[in-house]
Each structure stands twice: as structure tokens, then as C-alpha cells.
Amino acid sequence: MTTDPDPIERRLALARRFTEQVPHNQALGLVVEALRDRTARFRLPYHPKLIGNPATGVLHGGAITSLLDGCAGAAVFATLTELQPIATLDLRIDYLRPAEPGRDVVAEATCHHTSKHVAFVRALAFHADDEAPIATAVGTFMIGTKLGTNRAARGGA
């Protein structure tokens, strides 16, 4: 009988596949650069369709919100022992400085604590590791959200 050589690696590969199949992540062109135990690193390639201020070419804050939300969610997946549905509960983003036009934005998120129902995440967005961050974020995620629960919450729609 063969034993699983590395269950963590297998779980991370599953989380990566799951993340890469999210339609909006694909629409943004998000690249999963790294997914390790409790941490995720995503890259948002610069693209003109994501510009918020056409006079300067600076990316819209919303694109960075999606990057940070997606990366933070992946960090939660990288923490769970089995792949369960999660849902963002809240997300606070502080914008420290504008992203520079024409440059990719990288996000790194760490899930620093999980309880039975809730995961706690911190994340950073920056151009390069040795540069000052563009934005910082803290978020919480509900673990194990169920389809039926969400349907009921939407008023049975």
C-alpha cells in the first residue's frame, strides 16, 4: 500500500487549481505566484482595462481590492486541512500610495489564525519586495459556508 508522499503539497495544488478557475481572477489576469502553508502570493499584471484615472494611467483601487480579496482567500485555502467553501466577512484596505502606472502589483497574504468558523488574514500589496507597500489589508473569512445557507440568506432566490 502506498502512502501519500505529501498531503500538504496535494492540498495546495488543489487550492491553486480552485483559485485559478475563479472567473473573475481569470478576467483580471491574476497569476498565482506562490501558495504555501498559510500564505499566498498573487500577481496582478498591469492592463489598460483596469485604469481608474485615465489622465494618469493609475490602476483603479477596485482592481487592488479584488487582488487582495482573492489572495487573502487563497491564504485561507492554504491553511484549511480540507478544501471547504469560504466567504469574505469583512475586508479593510488602507491605500498608502498610488500604484505606479505600467507596473504589475503583487499581493502577499498570510492567514495568521483560524478558529472553528473564522479565518483571520493580513495582506500587503506592492510592486516589488524591496519597495514600500501600496496598500495593506486585514480581513476575516467565514469557513464552511454552505450553499443552502447562502440561498436562504438571499431570501430563497
Binding site: 478557475q21 475563479v22 472567473p23 473573475h24 481572477n25 481569470q26 478576467a27 489598460p48 482595462k49 483596469l50 485604469i51 481608474g52 484615472n53 485615465p54 489622465a55 490602476l59 483603479h60 483601487g61 477596485g62 482592481a63 481590492t65 479584488s66 487582488l67 487582495l68 480579496d69 482573492g70 482567500g73 467553501p85 466567504a87 469574505t88 466577512l89 469583512d90 475586508l91 479593510r92 484596505i93 488602507d94 491605500y95 498610488p98 459556508t145 450553499l147 447562502n150 440568506a153 438571499r154 431570501g155 432566490a157
Partner: protein
């Protein structure tokens, strides 16, 4: 045409849709803006590329954050003249319900308008405004004449 010129034109025309026309990301998200009973309502048209959870399916939390932030900015631009485009200092989004594959609307209320900082409370809903799918509080750096 600069963004501020677009904003002046939109206000002069009474047509908030002109606020969005010049913003590529607003087109990417499928945003539109309209005045309803004197309130500026920003709507994100449902499209498959907005989905974050295909199993439910549910709209990506990031797109809801982006809608809330955009609606907050538009409400602020509509409510007050500013010599600079509002810059987001911080935004805190609360996700209240899973947002299904439907159009989502949002409306911001300027809760504090200073010379340098504005605070906006904004909520987003789908079927009915009484059941918001997400709400946010945001602070913006602005520049107003005293």
C-alpha cells in the same frame, strides 16, 4: 479632457453616466450610474466574468468592494465640488450576504465633508435595498475651497 472636466460636464448636464464614461475600469466592471429620486445609484450589470464562486454561483467579493468604492466616489463627486479627484485613504467592506448572478446596485451617503477629508457610507443590494449584500465605510482625501 481631464477627469475633473468630465465631472464638471456631467454635473452641468445632470447626467451622472458621464462620470463613468472616461474610466476604463468602470467599463470592465459594467458600471452605470443614474439619478433615482435625487439619489445617485451606481449599478454593476451581472456578467460571467464577475463570478468569484462558480459553485454557488456568487459574485467575487473584490468586485463588490470595487462597486462600493466606485459608488462612494461618484456620490462624493456628485455631492461636492473638489479640486482633486478623491483619493481613497481607507475602505472597510462588510460582506452581509452572498451576491448571486444578478445586477447589483449601490448608493453612497456622504457622512462628513471636510476641506481635506470626506467620509462616505455606502451600501450595495440586489433584489431589495432592505437586504444589502455588502456595506462599506470609506475615507477619501479631497481638496475643497474653504
Amino acid at each position: 479632457m481631464t477627469m475633473l472636466a468630465h465631472i464638471d460636464a456631467a454635473r452641468a448636464d445632470g447626467d451622472p453616466q458621464r462620470l463613468l464614461a472616461a474610466i476604463p475600469y468602470a467599463q470592465f466592471l459594467g458600471l452605470s450610474a443614474a439619478l433615482v429620486d435625487g439619489q445617485l445609484i451606481t449599478t454593476m450589470r451581472y456578467a460571467p466574468h464577475l463570478v468569484g464562486n462558480p459553485a454557488l454561483p456568487a459574485i467575487h467579493g473584490g468586485t463588490l468592494g470595487a462597486l462600493l468604492e466606485s459608488a462612494a466616489v461618484f456620490s462624493l463627486l456628485w455631492a461636492a465640488e473638489t479640486a482633486l479627484l478623491p483619493k481613497t485613504i481607507t475602505i472597510t467592506v462588510d460582506y452581509l450576504r452572498s451576491a448571486g448572478p444578478h445586477d447589483t446596485s449601490a448608493c453612497g451617503i456622504v457622512t462628513r465633508l471636510g476641506r481635506r477629508v470626506a467620509a462616505v457610507r455606502v451600501e450595495a443590494w440586489q433584489a431589495t435595498r432592505a437586504q444589502p449584500v455588502a456595506t462599506a465605510n470609506a475615507h477619501f482625501l479631497i481638496k475643497r475651497e474653504a
